[in-house]
C-alpha cells in the first residue's frame, strides 16, 4: 500500500483535487452516493477507535445522520467521540492535508494506514456541497474546545479554514466535555438500509470492538445502541520493524536513502525484525555488498541484490540465509470470549462458539485468524448464513464472493457439522452467522478499494483450520442439544404423562391411583444427570444446579465432575457439596449411593463473571452405569490436560525471563504451543464417548 500512497502524494501535486478525486474515487470509497456515506462514517469511526485505543480510553462513539434535502440527497453527518482530541495546531493538518497520518511509517496492525482518510471526507464534502467541515476538538489539558471549519481551495489545492475560535463544549447534562472530537460534515450522499448500510457497518464494528459503546441515530430519528460488553481495552499494539520477507523494492530503497546509519550491518539490524547480526552479515555476503558500505550510498543494483538475498533467491553456500520470524505480539486479536460477547450482543441467540488461532507468519508478515459462529433462533434457517468479514477489526462489506475469507468458508464441508450446504461447497445455509477476522500487520487486499482479501494459500489454510475446529464445536453442540431434547422428553414422560395416565385411568374405572415407581423405573431404565446454569440478577452470580436421578432398579454410586471457567477468573462459592479440584476448570464430587428412584440435587455459584460469560456446564461421571446427560470421564484426557497445565506454567516462567530480549522466533513458537486460553475450549475435548 505504500506504493499507492506515494503515487497519490505525487499525483496530488500535479492534478487538481477534483480531478484527483474523480480518478481515484473507487478506491477512496466515494464511487456511489450510498457508499460515500458509509465511507465517511467509516473514516470517522476508524479514527475514533484508533485514537481511543492509542490513548487507552474506552470509546464512546455517537453517529448521527440527518437528511437535509431529500431531493438533492444532501446529508449531514455528525460524529462524536470521547478520544484524546487533537491539539489546535494539528487540526488543520489532519483534516486539510493529504497523507498527514501519524501511523503511516509504523508497521503494526491499525485501522488507518494511509493518512487520506478523514481529509478525503473533507474533500468530498467540499466538492459535492461546497461547504467546509466543522470540527470541534477538546484536549484534556485545556478548558475550552477548539473549533474551526476546514475546507479545500480546489484551485490552489490548499486547505482553507474559517470560523476559528474556542468555545466551552457543554454536554446535554450540563457538564463540560473532558476530551473528544466532533466532526460535522455536509455531503451529497444517500442513506440506505440492508446488508451494505451504515447500520450494518456500525453493527459489525461493534461486534469486533466489544469495548466500544456505539450509538447511531438514523435519519428517521431512531436511535440504535450497541453497548460496551467489556471494560477491557484491546491489547496495546506494539510497532514492529519490517521483516525482510515482506519488504518491497521501493520501500527498501527509501529506507536506505533516508538512513543515517554508518554501515550496512547496523542498518540491517536496526531497521528490520528477524535479522540477527550473523544474519545481517550473511545477507550482505549473499548480496555481495560490503559490510561497511553506507546505506545512503547504495546503488540501484545493490537494492535488487539485497532484496533477492532477503527472499532467499540469492544464497550463501547454496542455502538461503536463515532469518528469525518477526514477533507476533504486535497483533491485537479480539480473543474468543470477547468475540462471543460481541456476537451475542448484536444477534440475540443461543449458541456462540469462537476460535482464536495462535499467531503465525506469512511472507514476513505476522497474522492471526479468529473465527466465530452464532447459531440458533431468530435467524433464517433456509437462507445462506450471514458472513461477517473483518480485517484488523474493520468490517468488510463489499465483494464478499471474491474474498479469501469467504472462500475459506466455502471450502469447508459444513454438512458434517450440521448445516445445509448444496454439494458440500459454497456458503452454507442455516440459522447461523459466521465471523472471520484476520489480524495482520500487512493485510493484502485484492484491490485498492480494500474490500476483499487477496488469495494466500497459507492464510486460507489457517482460516480453514479455525473453521473446522469451530465446526466440530457446533456439531457437538447440536448433538448435545439432541441428547438433551431426548432426556427432556423422558422427563416429560415420567413426570407428567405417566401420572396423568394413571390418574385418568383410575378415575374412569373408579379405582385408587396406582403406585407409579415401578412403571417409571421400567420406562427410564437409566441414570440421568440434569445440569442447569443460570445468571442470577440479584447476586450477580452464575448459579449452577446439578441433579442426578436414579431411574434404575439398582443402587448406584458415582463421582460427578463439572467444567467451570476457572481460567477466566471465576471463583466457586456456596459449594456445600464440597468435592475437590481435579484439574484447572474441572471440579469433582463423590456422591453417596443413590437408591432406585432416588434423586440428589446440589448447587454452587460462580463469581467473577459477567452475564453471558458462562451459560453451559458440562457434566462428566465416573461409575459403571451410563449417565444420560453426562459424558464418561476420559481419564487419559484429564491426565493430558494436567500435563499440559504443568508445561504451560513452566513455559510462562521462561518467557517472562526472556521478555526483554525475546528472540522473535521463540516468542511465536511459544505462542503456538500454549493451549487455548478459555476453559470451555479445553474442556470440549472431554467425553470419551464421542
Amino acid at each position: 500500500m505504500a506504493g499507492t500512497a506515494e503515487r497519490m502524494a505525487s499525483n496530488q501535486k500535479q492534478v487538481a483535487i477534483s480531478e484527483f478525486f474523480e480518478k481515484n474515487k473507487h478506491f477512496l470509497g466515494f464511487d456511489s452516493l450510498p457508499r460515500s456515506l458509509i465511507t465517511a462514517v467509516k473514516e470517522a469511526v476508524d479514527n475514533s477507535l484508533d485514537a481511543c485505543e492509542e490513548a487507552r480510553i474506552l470509546p464512546e462513539i455517537k453517529i448521527q445522520i440527518t437528511k437535509l434535502d431529500s431531493n438533492k440527497d444532501i446529508i449531514e453527518l455528525k460524529s462524536e467521540d470521547n478520544g484524546p482530541g487533537i491539539p489546535k495546531k494539528s487540526i488543520e493538518k489532519v483534516f486539510g492535508q493529504l497523507l498527514f497520518g501519524s501511523r503511516f511509517h509504523a508497521i503494526r496492525q491499525s485501522r488507518g494506514q494511509q493518512g487520506i482518510g478523514i481529509t478525503g471526507v473533507v474533500m468530498y464534502c467540499q466538492l459535492t456541497t461546497g461547504r467546509k467541515t466543522h470540527v470541534r476538538s477538546k484536549i484534556a489539558t485545556e478548558t475550552s474546545a477548539a473549533i474551526v471549519d476546514i475546507g479545500l481551495d480546489t484551485r490552489k489545492n490548499k486547505a482553507t479554514k474559517s470560523g476559528e475560535g474556542r468555545e466551552l463544549w457543554e454536554l446535554p447534562d450540563g457538564t463540560l466535555k473532558e476530551h473528544g472530537l466532533e466532526i460535522t460534515a455536509r455531503m451529497k450522499a444517500k442513506y440506505q438500509r440492508g446488508r451494505q448500510s451504515v447500520y450494518q457497518y456500525l453493527r459489525m464494528t461493534s461486534i469486533v470492538n466489544p469495548h466500544a459503546d456505539i450509538t447511531f441515530v438514523d435519519p428517521d430519528g431512531e436511535s440504535h445502541h450497541w453497548p460496551r460488553v467489556t471494560e477491557r481495552l484491546p491489547r496495546k499494539v506494539e510497532s514492529i520493524k519490517p521483516h525482510p520477507h515482506g519488504i518491497h523494492l521501493g520501500t527498501l530503497q527509501r529506507m536506505c536513502t533516508e538512513s543515517t546509519d554508518s554501515r550496512m550491518t547496523v542498518f540491517l539490524r536496526n531497521n528490520f525484525s528477524g535479522v540477527s547480526s550473523r544474519a545481517a552479515k550473511e545477507l550482505l555476503a549473499a548480496a555481495e555488498i560490503e559490510e561497511k558500505a553506507k546505506p545512503k550510498l547504495l546503488k540501484a543494483d545493490h537494492y535488487r541484490a539485497l532484496l533477492e538475498a532477503f527472499q532467499g533467491e540469492r544464497m550463501l553456500n547454496d542455502k538461503p540465509v536463515k532469518l528469525l520470524n518477526p514477533p507476533t505480539n504486535c497483533l491485537s486479536p479480539i480473543e474468543e470470549l470477547l468475540i462471543k460477547k460481541g456476537l451475542s450482543k448484536t444477534i440475540d441467540s443461543r449458541y456462540v462458539t469462537t476460535m482464536t488461532r495462535a499467531p503465525t507468519v506469512t511472507q514476513g508478515n505476522p497474522y492471526q485468524v479468529e473465527v466465530g459462529l452464532i447459531f440458533g433462533d431468530g435467524m433464517a434457517a433456509d437462507k445462506p448464513v450471514e458472513v461477517l468479514r473483518f480485517a484488523n477489526r474493520v468490517p468488510l462489506m463489499y465483494q464478499q464472493g471474491g474474498c479469501l475469507l469467504t472462500k475459506a468458508i466455502e471450502s469447508v464441508d459444513w454438512r458434517q457439522y450440521g448445516l445445509d450446504q448444496a454439494g458440500g461447497r459454497g456458503v452454507p445455509k442455516g440459522p447461523a452467522a459466521i465471523l472471520v477476522h484476520l489480524a495482520s500487520t500487512n493485510v493484502q487486499f485484492t484491490s485498492e478499494a480494500k474490500e476483499a482479501l487477496a488469495d494466500n494459500a497459507e492464510v486460507i489454510d489457517e482460516v480453514r483450520k479455525a473453521l473446522l475446529e469451530m465446526g466440530r464445536g457446533l456439531r457437538k453442540h447440536l448433538e448435545k442439544k439432541k441428547k438433551m431434547a431426548k432426556t427432556q422428553e423422558k422427563f416429560e414422560l415420567v413426570n407428567d404423562i405417566i401420572p396423568a395416565i394413571a390418574a385418568k385411568a383410575a378415575s374412569i374405572l373408579d379405582r385408587p391411583v396406582p403406585n407409579l415407581s415401578g412403571s417409571i423405573t421400567r420406562i427410564m431404565g437409566a441414570v440421568i444427570a440434569e445440569p442447569t446454569t443460570a445468571w442470577n440478577k440479584e447476586t450477580k452470580q452464575t448459579d449452577v444446579s446439578i441433579t442426578l436421578f436414579n431411574y434404575t432398579t439398582r443402587a448406584r454410586s458415582y463421582t460427578l465432575l463439572a467444567s467451570w471457567p476457572e481460567r477466566d477468573g471465576a471463583t466457586m462459592v456456596n459449594n456445600e457439596q464440597g468435592g475437590r479440584k481435579e484439574a484447572t476448570g474441572v471440579w469433582a464430587w463423590k456422591l453417596d449411593t443413590l437408591e432406585p428412584g432416588q434423586t440428589i440435587t446440589f448447587t454452587y455459584s460462580l463469581t467473577g463473571l459477567e452475564r453471558g460469560d458462562w451459560t453451559d456446564t458440562d457434566i462428566f461421571y465416573r461409575g459403571s452405569q451410563e449417565v444420560i446427560g453426562a459424558s464418561k470421564m476420559d481419564e487419559k484426557l484429564l491426565e493430558e490436560i494436567r500435563r499440559q497445565e504443568a508445561a504451560t506454567t513452566g513455559e510462562d516462567e521462561v518467557s517472562q525471563d526472556e521478555e526483554v530480549e525475546a528472540a522473535p522466533e521463540a516468542v511465536s513458537e511459544n505462542n503456538a504451543e500454549v493451549p487455548a486460553k478459555t476453559g470451555q475450549q479445553t474442556l470440549m475435548g472431554f467425553g470419551g464417548d464421542e
Binding site: I497, I498, K504, I508, G518, S519, T521
Partner: protein, 366 residues
C-alpha cells in the same frame, strides 16, 4: 340383518377393557399399553364366511415408553371419558367438535384433526364397537339418492317419516343421514331392478336429467368421491335387504379402483367393520382400462403418483383376482386414465343411450 350397534352398557364395558389394560400394567409395575390390530394392507385377509376383507391376527402394542405413544394413551383415556359423558347425557358430537373440545385436555390434547380421527378409529378397532356407538359423527355428509324406492326415517322429534326417493324429493334427491342403522332408517319397498353408485356429481345429475332411473328402473346413488361410511352402509343394506344387484360407475383411474374396493371388499382403514360396510356382490361397471381404448376416450397421462398407486394395488389382496390384475396392468401399459365425463365427447346422451346400456347388457341388467 343384525345391527352394527351396541347398547350403551356394551359400549362402556368394551371401552373399560381398554382402560383396564393400562391400569393393570401400572399396578404390575410395567409401562401402560394399548393392544390393537395392525392397520395396514399387510394385515388384511379375506374372510370366507363374510365375503369381505378383515384385519388379520397381527397385533401391535402401543406402550408408554416413548413420549409420542404415551400421549396417545393419555388421549385415548380422555376420549373414553368424553364418550362416556356423551352416552350418559344422550348427546353426540362430530369428530371435529371432539378435536376442539380436546383443547381443554391439557397434556392429552390433539395436535391435529387427523390424530383425533385416527384415535376414534383405533378405539373402534379395539372395542369392536362402531363410531355410532361412541356418539361420534363424521364431518362429511352422506350421499344423495334418487329412484323409486321408499324408506322410513326417524326425524329429530322421534317421529317416523315415509319418504319416496323419487316422488318426495327435489332434484338433489334424498340426503342420506350419518346414521343409517335400523333405529334411524327402515327400508320399506321399491320398484327397481338394480342400484347404480356413481362417483361424480356431474354424472349423477346427467343421468337424472336424462331420466335414466326411470328408463332403466334403477336407484342412483351419488358417492361423492371416497364414500362416507353411511353411504357404504346404506348401499349394503339395500343390496342385502332388498336383494338388489349393485353396479359401480366411476372414473377410470387408480383412485376409483380403490373406491370400488372399499365398497365391495372393505377399506383398509375400516377393515374391523367390513362386514357392516362392504357389499361383496357389487360389480365394477366402468370406466375400465379397456373402455379407454374401446371407446377412444379423451384421456390424461398417468402421473408418477398414479403409477405408484397402481403398482401398490397389484400387491393389494383385494385386487388379487385375475380380472383386476389384467385391468391394472392394462392401465399401466396404456399409461392413460379417463374421467366418466369424457364420454361427453360423443354428445350428452351418449352415456345413457349407448355406453351404459351396452355395459349393463353385458351384465344382463338391460
Amino acid at each position: 340383518m343384525m345391527s352394527a350397534m351396541h347398547t350403551s352398557e356394551e359400549t362402556k364395558t368394551a371401552l373399560h377393557a381398554v382402560v383396564e389394560e393400562m391400569y393393570d400394567k401400572i399396578v404390575k409395575g410395567e409401562p401402560p399399553t394399548m393392544t390393537l390390530p395392525v392397520r395396514t394392507k399387510n394385515n388384511i385377509g379375506f374372510d370366507d364366511k363374510l365375503g369381505v376383507y378383515k384385519y388379520g391376527k397381527k397385533r401391535s402394542i402401543r406402550d408408554a415408553t416413548s413420549l409420542g405413544s404415551a400421549k396417545q394413551l393419555l388421549r385415548a383415556l380422555h376420549v373414553v371419558e368424553f364418550i362416556e359423558e356423551m352416552i350418559d347425557a344422550g348427546k353426540s358430537s362430530t369428530l371435529r367438535e371432539m378435536y376442539y373440545i380436546s383443547e381443554a385436555w391439557g397434556l392429552g390434547k390433539f395436535s391435529s384433526q387427523n390424530e383425533s380421527n385416527n384415535l376414534a378409529e383405533d378405539l373402534e378397532v379395539v372395542t369392536k364397537c362402531m363410531r355410532e356407538d361412541f356418539k361420534l359423527r363424521p364431518e362429511e355428509d352422506g350421499a344423495r339418492m334418487i329412484g323409486n324406492l321408499t324408506l322410513r326415517e326417524r326425524n329429530r322429534r322421534g317421529e317416523w317419516m315415509r319418504i319416496n326417493a323419487r316422488d318426495d324429493v327435489g332434484d338433489s334427491g334424498y340426503g342420506v343421514p350419518y346414521n343409517v342403522e335400523e333405529e334411524k332408517i327402515e327400508l320399506l319397498e321399491h320398484d327397481i331392478n338394480f342400484i347404480m353408485a356413481i362417483e361424480t356429481g356431474g354424472m349423477f345429475d346427467r343421468l337424472i336429467e336424462n331420466g335414466f332411473d326411470e328408463a332403466y328402473k334403477c336407484g342412483l346413488l351419488h358417492l361423492k368421491g371416497q364414500p362416507a361410511r353411511s353411504t357404504r352402509r346404506i348401499l349394503k343394506r339395500m343390496s342385502e335387504e332388498w336383494d338388489l344387484p349393485v353396479v359401480v360407475f366411476l372414473d377410470g383411474d387408480p383412485w376409483s379402483f380403490r373406491i370400488f374396493a372399499s365398497i365391495a371388499y372393505g377399506a383398509i382403514k375400516t377393515a374391523h367393520i367390513s362386514e357392516y360396510l362392504a357389499t361383496p356382490s357389487a360389480t365394477y361397471l366402468g370406466i375400465t382400462a379397456d373402455d379407454i381404448e374401446a371407446y377412444d376416450l379423451p384421456s390424461d397421462d398417468l402421473s408418477s403418483r398414479d403409477e405408484d398407486a397402481l403398482k401398490a394395488e397389484l400387491s393389494d389382496p383385494r385386487f388379487a383376482d385375475p380380472w383386476w390384475q389384467e385391468q391394472i396392468n392394462m392401465m399401466l401399459e396404456l399409461g392413460k386414465k379417463a374421467e366418466q365425463q369424457s364420454l361427453a365427447k360423443y354428445g350428452l346422451d351418449f352415456v345413457t343411450d349407448t355406453y351404459l346400456p351396452e355395459k349393463l347388457a353385458d351384465l344382463g341388467l338391460a
